[in-house]
């Protein structure tokens, strides 16, 4: 019960801060910001970050990180582009192959980290380069060897970028991913293992958890999430280029950290990452409505993040202290 209280209260604080941000922009940006279309667009912008964020969150909870997400997205998109351009295989087959490539790429990361003992940061940084290079190598070129974007406009694929009713398909997918991700983390043995590995690898090993295997699966899941992210990105662009996801790797990490996932591992969850992703998307969208020079937008963005995060951290520290004291008291009652 105590645990529920502690985490739900924290969650309310995060949501409260998101709300404050929305109110702030509603006041400053007026109707330009505060309208249904804009909110749907904000959620849409947060969706790919949210989907990829599920895997990245798991990686961060194991005290790791995944810097290769953008490159895996590109590799997946480019794999599909090749199938699209050179075969007449059905779209679902193309998508499944894309997903398999994503999972394989993720497993590569997992192997390098879990079994070759390369630190997560450097390992995924290296594969970020490797996967991007592979993408360029298999990229579609014209007769002169100049790299080109491959249009993928067939309805069966492009429709993935459309809306179903109010929400975009990508948003619906994101919601599914978040729900499943949350269930996996909180209600399966694997999920518990993920937290254990992140909190203390040695203790996890002593408790009989297969640390390496857990890492392998976590990065495999991350690869899968990247694949889905890559598919939706390509669908929205109705094309694939080698540059997809360039510089994207940072967004899900930032969303996770803003959402309360500690880089030191062992804490956080994907709902937090979702809130983080929404927060970042709102911020990005909101400052555009302030009708300001780009330069000032950067300053405002940074200042808002610092203020919000300062408040958030101070509050969380306070909560932790209370919980600790309560824990001590519980122990004292015989």
């Amino acid at each position: 019960m105590k645990k529920m209280k502690q985490t739900t209260l924290r969650r309310f604080i995060s949501l409260g801060l998101l709300l404050v941000l929305i109110i702030l922009f509603a006041i400053l940006g007026g109707g330009l910001f505060f309208n249904a279309d804009n909110f749907i667009e904000i959620v849409r912008d947060a969706s790919v970050v949210g989907i990829v964020g599920v895997g990245v969150t798991m990686a961060i909870i194991t005290a790791g990180i995944d810097l290769s997400t953008g490159s895996v997205m590109a590799l997946v998109a480019m794999t599909m582009a090749n199938i699209y351009a050179y075969t007449l295989w059905p779209i679902p087959v193309m998508i499944i192959l894309g997903i398999l490539v994503g999972i394989a790429a993720g497993l590569c990361n997992g192997y390098i980290i879990g079994y070759l003992h390369v630190p997560e940061f450097i390992g995924t940084l290296a594969t970020m380069g490797i996967f991007r290079s592979l993408t360029y190598i298999i990229a579609i070129t014209d007769d002169n060897g100049v790299i080109q974007s491959q249009p993928m406009t067939v309805y069966g694929f492009a429709s993935l970028g459309y809306a179903a009713g109010y929400f975009y398909l990508v948003t619906i997918a994101m919601i599914v991913f978040i729900i499943v991700g949350q269930i996996v983390l909180k209600f399966t043995r694997f999920g518990t293992n993920v937290y254990a590995v992140g909190a203390n690898k040695k203790a996890a090993r002593l408790s009989g958890i297969k640390v390496e295997k857990t890492q392998l699966i976590v990065y495999g899941i991350s690869g899968f999430c990247c694949a889905v992210g890559g598919i939706f990105t390509a669908a929205r662009l109705q094309s694939a280029t080698a540059a997809i996801g360039d510089g994207f790797e940072f967004d899900p990490i930032a969303a996770a950290v803003v959402g309360g996932v500690a880089l030191s591992g062992g804490s956080g969850d994907v709902v937090g990452t979702l809130i983080g992703a929404l927060f970042m998307a709102t911020l990005k969208n909101g400052v555009l409505k302030l009708n300001m020079n780009t330069a000032y937008q950067y300053v405002i963005k940074g200042v808002i993040i610092i203020l919000v995060v300062m408040f958030d951290s101070a509050y969380k520290a306070h909560m932790d202290r209370l919980a600790k004291e309560r824990g001590a008291k519980e122990g004292a009652e015989e």
Binding site: M1, K2, K3, M4, Q6, I183, K186, F187, T188, R189, T192, N193, Y195, A196, G198, A199, N200, K202, A203, A204, R205, L206, S207, G208, I209, K210, G266, S267, R321, A323, K324, E325, R326, G327, A328, K329, E330, G331, A332, E333, E334
Partner: protein, 510 residues
Amino acid sequence: MSGMNEIILEAKGIYKSFSGVPVLQDVHFDVRKGEVHALMGENGAGKSTLIKIITGVYSKDAGTIEWEGKPVEINNYQDCQKLGVACIYQELSVIPPLTVAQNVFLGREPRTFGLIDYAKMNRMTQELIDRYQFPLHPATLVENLGMGQRQLIEILKGLSQNSKLLIMDEPTASLSGKEAETLFHIIETLRSEGVSVIYISHRLEEVYRLSDRLTILRDGQNAAVLNREEIVPKKVIATMIGKIVDESAGSKKMLHSDDTAPVRLEVKDLTDPADRYRHISFQVHRGEILGLGGLIGAGRTEVVRAIYGVDKAKSGEVILDGQKMNPSPKTSIAAGIGFVPEDRRSQGFIPLLSTTRNIALTNYDIIRKKGAAVSYADELAMSKKAIKDIDIRPADPDKEVGVMSGGNQQKVVLGKWLMRDLKLLIVDEPTAGIDVGAKNEIYEILENLAKQGVAIILVSSDLQELIRVSHRILVMRKGDVVKEFKNEIVTQSRVLSAGQGILDEEEAQA
């Protein structure tokens, strides 16, 4: 007890070395069905390493392990569980961000439709807790709990697996008398049910009381295997550390304290902001060793942390040599206070740094400098002195403290304070996990310090130790000082009953 002589586990010719340094050499070890087999040896003798080899955490360099007569390969903890072996490791393997119940059932969570059934898991944990009467709640996050409670969780985890062999590596290191007593009863019940137990402890009286057989390791080699009737304290200690130590069972003692000595420390009306202790007032005189007793969670740790200044008290005064303090570690150290924290692993030392660096950490004010540079020679000399003074092993000043044995880590933590002039030394569970030989050395060190006029506050859950070392004893209960033992005969049971809130000794015995 049928089949008492049937060997359930046998380890033969075990060799192990870490980066070329041999830790185990040709070790033989066997456990019979339904016996409590104690494993003893000095700090660093290789006990934990042997356990980790048996449970597949480490691989062995050579040797075989047989289970019920058949050779087995144990490569990980799952293999152990399949055979029916459970282990409570010395370095607790609880996972802080998970709840008590999640920790107890880690990897064995009850599931419905593949999803963890938290309600059931909490219920099952509560049943276990009720059965053993541990002060725990299933849904508390472990990160909010103290060391003693964490140790209880670890024990609960081991007990919940219904194993044929239960291995316990210093399970009572941070337990107080009451919980330890509960544990002994549990062990005795298990034995009568035919479960074998490997029991490692540095508390001799526990070993004498529980063990059917005893294997002693010395410097990584078999020194002796003793049967129950051969377990004679003097002999055990002599075999273990190669010299005779007076282990006069300190279960009873006449306390003497010198009230005429000047007051070194005065604590007035100290109250915790979170109400974990309140209105604490006491004095410590020069050259006096003040023992602080009580059960887990009595608030002793909190009080001494506030005196040293790690945590801030809400109100109250700390006065050292007539000087009112504004406690913070920095000012405390400057004023001549030393502090050995309860949880050495997370608060005591820097695991990645060497013995030298750890020892020097609080002493840079007295280590010479050449210009801006720290004199390496001085630093090294200090660390060598500490290694010699309290016999830290391995005696390599450059050894990372993180990989040293638990007892030696504790010596490093204590060692840094012995290198400087102190007025007051606060030690919280100073001998948790320390072997008898070293324990005695530590007691002697404390006594010597006291003779030189240093005031000492000793927080200890080891009643024997508390009684043996203290000049005066305060007992805390739920945040209050409930009893003072002073210039009178004190026994373990009196201290224990005071801690449990039974103030009259006769009543306790009745």
